[in-house]
Symmetry: C2
Subunit: 592 residues, 2 copies
Amino acid sequence: MSDYRYPYQDGVFVLNQLVGLEQICQQAGLDDFADGLAEAVLDEAAKLGSEQLAPLNVTGDRLGASIENNNVSETPGFSDAYQQFCDGGWPSLAGNPEFGGQGLPNVLAVAVNEVWQSANLAWALCPLLTQGAIEAIETHGNDQLKKHYLPKLISGEWTGTMNLTEPDAGTDLAALKSKAVPEDDYYRITGQKIFITWGDHQMTDNIVHLVLARLADAPAGVKGISLFVVPKYLLDENGNPTEQRNDAYAVSLEHKLGIHGSPTCVMSFGDNGGAIGYLVGKANQGLACMFTMMNDARQGVGLQGLAISERSYQHAVTYAKERIQGTLRDGSRISIIKHPDVRRMLLQMKSSIQAMRALVYVARAESDYVNNAVDDETKLKHQKRNDLLTPIVKGWVTELAQELTYLAVQIHGGMGFIEETGVAQYYRDARILTIYEGTTGIQALDLIGRKTLVDGGDAVTDLLSEISSDLKEIDHPELQSIVSATQAAVEQASIAKQWVLEVAAKDASAAGSASVSYMMLMGYLCGAWLLTKSAAIAQENLSKEGADSDFLNAKIISARFFTEQMLPRVSSLLVAMQSGGETVMAMSEEQF
Amino acid sequence: MSDYRYPYQDGVFVLNQLVGLEQICQQAGLDDFADGLAEAVLDEAAKLGSEQLAPLNVTGDRLGASIENNNVSETPGFSDAYQQFCDGGWPSLAGNPEFGGQGLPNVLAVAVNEVWQSANLAWALCPLLTQGAIEAIETHGNDQLKKHYLPKLISGEWTGTMNLTEPDAGTDLAALKSKAVPEDDYYRITGQKIFITWGDHQMTDNIVHLVLARLADAPAGVKGISLFVVPKYLLDENGNPTEQRNDAYAVSLEHKLGIHGSPTCVMSFGDNGGAIGYLVGKANQGLACMFTMMNDARQGVGLQGLAISERSYQHAVTYAKERIQGTLRDGSRISIIKHPDVRRMLLQMKSSIQAMRALVYVARAESDYVNNAVDDETKLKHQKRNDLLTPIVKGWVTELAQELTYLAVQIHGGMGFIEETGVAQYYRDARILTIYEGTTGIQALDLIGRKTLVDGGDAVTDLLSEISSDLKEIDHPELQSIVSATQAAVEQASIAKQWVLEVAAKDASAAGSASVSYMMLMGYLCGAWLLTKSAAIAQENLSKEGADSDFLNAKIISARFFTEQMLPRVSSLLVAMQSGGETVMAMSEEQF
C-alpha cells in the first residue's frame, strides 16, 4: 500500500498550461527546458521518489531517529537515499549557477519537490530547511560566507537548519534570549533552541545552523535580533571543514504526533564556552534575514500540504476501488467507490488537490517572474503577487490538507484507524503543517495586515481584477455555471476586502477575529479561479487532435465539483468574518 | 496537565433548565431526584472521574493493552478503577430495577457518562459496550437469558461486547459469514470477528459476547442474521459461571491511531469445535436486535464526541491562560488568551461544546419520555424524535469533535504536536468516533432515508415547527440577532427537507451525495436552537436573585458566537447539497 506515483499528467498540465513554464524558461534563456526537457526531469524525479523515498516513509514513521551522546542517528536507509538524491544533482536544481546550481526555474523545482514531499515528508524536510539556509546566506551573507557555504549547501554536501524558536519565544521572537558576543572576526553564541528540524544527523559531514541571537547592546524586541551562521564543524581558511567540532549540540529529540522520521532537536549552543558564529547581514537586522528564510519555507510548507494530501488520496482511491462492500439488487457485490458518499469524499480530495497544486505552482512561478523581470515595474508586480499568495499557500493549503487527510482515513473506515494500513500516518504527519513556519493564525494576520491593509488592498484588488478578467475570457457555454459561481465568489471576496479596509483597519480585535476566515475565503477563491481556468483550457484542448479526453473531462468535472461543493464555503466565511470582534472579545478570561 | 473537571454548572443548567429533569423524575416517580439529589449524584461521579479515571487516561495511551496466550491484559490500573466504579454502584444507575438497576433517568446517566468518557474514553468504552449488551438482552432475550445475564451485567460484575464486524463484512452486514448450528438447547458458533472493543480483559470474571451469526438455512443477506449470547465462561443451571471456558478467544490486538487503552480484539469463535451460544430473540431477526444495541451505542458515541471535546477544551484553555507570548505597547507581556484569533478558536470550542451537550442530553431524555409515556401517542412522538436525533447526535457531534480537538492542538502551537503535552492524544482518540458504530456516511444515509424519506419528512417537520415555536416565544430584544439567525437557519433547513423529499426521493445518487451535508446542516441547526433557548433562559435568570451573572452572560455570548460564526455554515451546506449527485457520479472509476 506504500505505492506512490507523482501525478505526472496533472503536474505537466499545471506547468505547461497554467503557469507558463515555457515563457519562464525562455525568459531565463533556457530554451531546452521549454522544449520537453522539463518533463524528462520531472519523470526522473518521479522515479527516484517512487522507488527509493516512498518505501522509506513508513520506516521513518516506525523507527524514527535516535540520539546518543549528542549524536542523532537518522532512520536507517535515509542516508543512502540522501546520497542518491545528491548524486542525481537534485539539490542544486534551481540553485544559483554562480555557486554550482543548475539555475532551473523555481517552478520546475517546486514540481520536483512535490515528489520528495509526497514520497517522504519527514525526510524531505531536510532539503526544505537547507533551502531556507541557502536563501538567507545568498541574500544577506557577505562574499566569504557565500563562497564558503553556498556551494556545499547547494550541492547537498551539507545541510542547513533554521534555529529560531526558544522555550519562551515561539511566534513571539521579541522574547528571544540567545546571546552573541563579538570575538575576533566571529561571535560566540550561547543559548537553547527548540523544535530544530533535522538539527543533527549523520547524512552529511557538516551541518550549517542559521541561528537567531541577540547582541549585548541590541535594542529590545525584534529590532535587536541578529542572524548567525554556526557550522557544526568549523571551516579552515579555505572553507574546508576541519575536525574541530563547534560548541553546538543536539541535546534531545522530541516525541511527536507525526513526522517521526524527521529528528526534531533541542539544540544547545555554547555549553562549553560558546559556539563560533558568523554574522549574516547587518547586526540587529536578523528579522529581515529570518523572513527571507521563512517566506520560501512557508511556500514550501504549503507544498507539503499539497504533497501529503496527494499521497493520502492515492491511498484512499486504491482502497476505494479494492474494498468490496455492498450488494446490488442483482446480488453482485460492489467496491465502495460506487457509493455516492465515497465518491463525494474522493472528489472533495481530488478537486481540492488539483486546486492546491495549481495555486502552489502558480505562486512559486511568481519568484521566477521576479527573477526574470526586465524592469522594476514588472518585478514589483510579481513580488507583490508572490507576497500576497504566500500566506494563502501556507495557510489555506495546509488547513485544507487536514480535511483531506482526514477524509482519506474516513474512506478506509475501520481500517483507517489501524496503523498498519498506513493512511493514519499521513493524517498524523499533516498535523504539523498548520503549526510550523508560522501557524495558520500568523499567516492570516500576515494576509490581513501586511498584505492587505498596508497597501490599502491594492494587491488584493489586482488579484480580483485578474480573476474577473480571466473569467470574462471564458467563452464555453458548458462551463457557464462554473464561471458564474467563481465570479460570485470574486464579488464576495471584494466585499470581504472592503470590510477589511473599512472595519478591520480601525479595530485590531475585528481584524484578529476575522483573519482566518478571510484567509480561508481567499484560498477557496484562488482554488476556484485556477480550476475554472483549467476547465476552460481543458475544454479547448478537448477538440485538439490526440487529446486525452478522459483526463481533460476529469479536469472539468473537478472544477465543477469544487465550485459546487467547496466554493459555497466562501459565503459562510464572509458572514463569519463580518461578525467582527465584539463577541470574540466579550468574554472575560474567567468566563472561558 | 491531565486535570479534568466535569463542567458541573453547564451540565446542571442543561439538565434542569433545558431538558426538564424535574419533569422526567416526577413522571418516573422519583421525586427525590427532582429535588437536588441528581446534582449530588453528578458531583460524586465528577469526583471519581477526576481523581481516579482521568489520571489513567495517559497511562492507557502509553501502555495500552497486551495479549499473551489468548488472554488480554488491560492497562495497569484500569482494573482497580473498574472495581471502584462498580463499588460505587455506577454501572447500575439507569438499570432496570427488576434486575438490580437503580432505575434513574437515562438523561441523568448520560451526564454521569460524560464524566467517564471525558476522564478516560478508552476505559469508558467498556461500560458503554456493556450497555449495548444489556439493551439487546433486555429487549429481545427470553426470561432465562434475562435472569442469568442481566443482573451481573447491570451491576458491572460482568462486561459485554458487540461482535458484528468481520473482515469482509463491516458496514455491509449482509456479507456476514459466521455460522450457528443448533445443538440441544444452544447453538455452536464458529467464525472470526474483528474490531471487537474490549473483547477480552481480566477486570471481571466473565464477559458476555453478543455475536451476529447465520443459521444454515437462513435467507441470504441481512434477513438471515441471528444474534447470540456467547459467554466467555459457561454458566451452570443456576446462572453461576463455571470454570468451563467457552470456545471464544481473543487472538490478536490491533495497533491503533488512538484509544490505545481500549483493547481492540480479533475474536475467534469455534476454533475447537464451536462456541456455545444462546439465541437472543427470534432466528433471523438479528438485525433488529443489532439495531437495539446499536442505537443506544450511537448516541453513546455522540456523547464521546462531546466528552473528548470538553476534555481537550479544558487542556487548551488552561494553556492559553498560562502561555505568555506577545508584548503590549507598554512592554508588558501577555498570555495568548488575549489574542483575538486564540479567543476565536476557544469560543468555537466552548460554544460548540455547549451546543453538543445540549443536544446529546436532550436526545437522551427522549428515551426517558418514551419510558414514562402514559399513552401511545406521546410514546410514539418521543420515539420518533429519539430516532430522528440519533444520527444527528452520532454524525454531527463526532464530526464537530474532530474540528474541536484539532483546534485544541492548534491553540498549543508547536507544543501541541509533542506527545508529552497530552493534547495530541485527544486528537488521536477522537478520530475513531466518526468511524465506529456506523460511519458518518451511514448516519447521514440513516437521516436522509429512514428518518426523513420514510415518513415523508414528518419527524423533521415536527422538529422545525418546535424550533420555530420556541424561537417565537423568546421576547428579549437583546437576543434579537441570535433569534433571527436561528430562524433563518430553520427556513434553510426547511428548504433542505423539501429538496430531500422532491429530489433525493427519486434519485439515490443525489441522496447519497447530499446526505452528509444534510446531516451537518441539521446538526448546526439543532445546536443553534438549543443554544438560543439557553440564551433566553439565561437572560431571564439574570434578573433573579442570586443569579451567577458571569455564567449566564457567558451562556449568552456562546449562543451569539455560535450563531455568528458556526451557524452560517448552514447556507453553504444547503448550496452544496442542492448540487445533487450528477457531478459526483460523472467521473468514471478510472478517472479518479
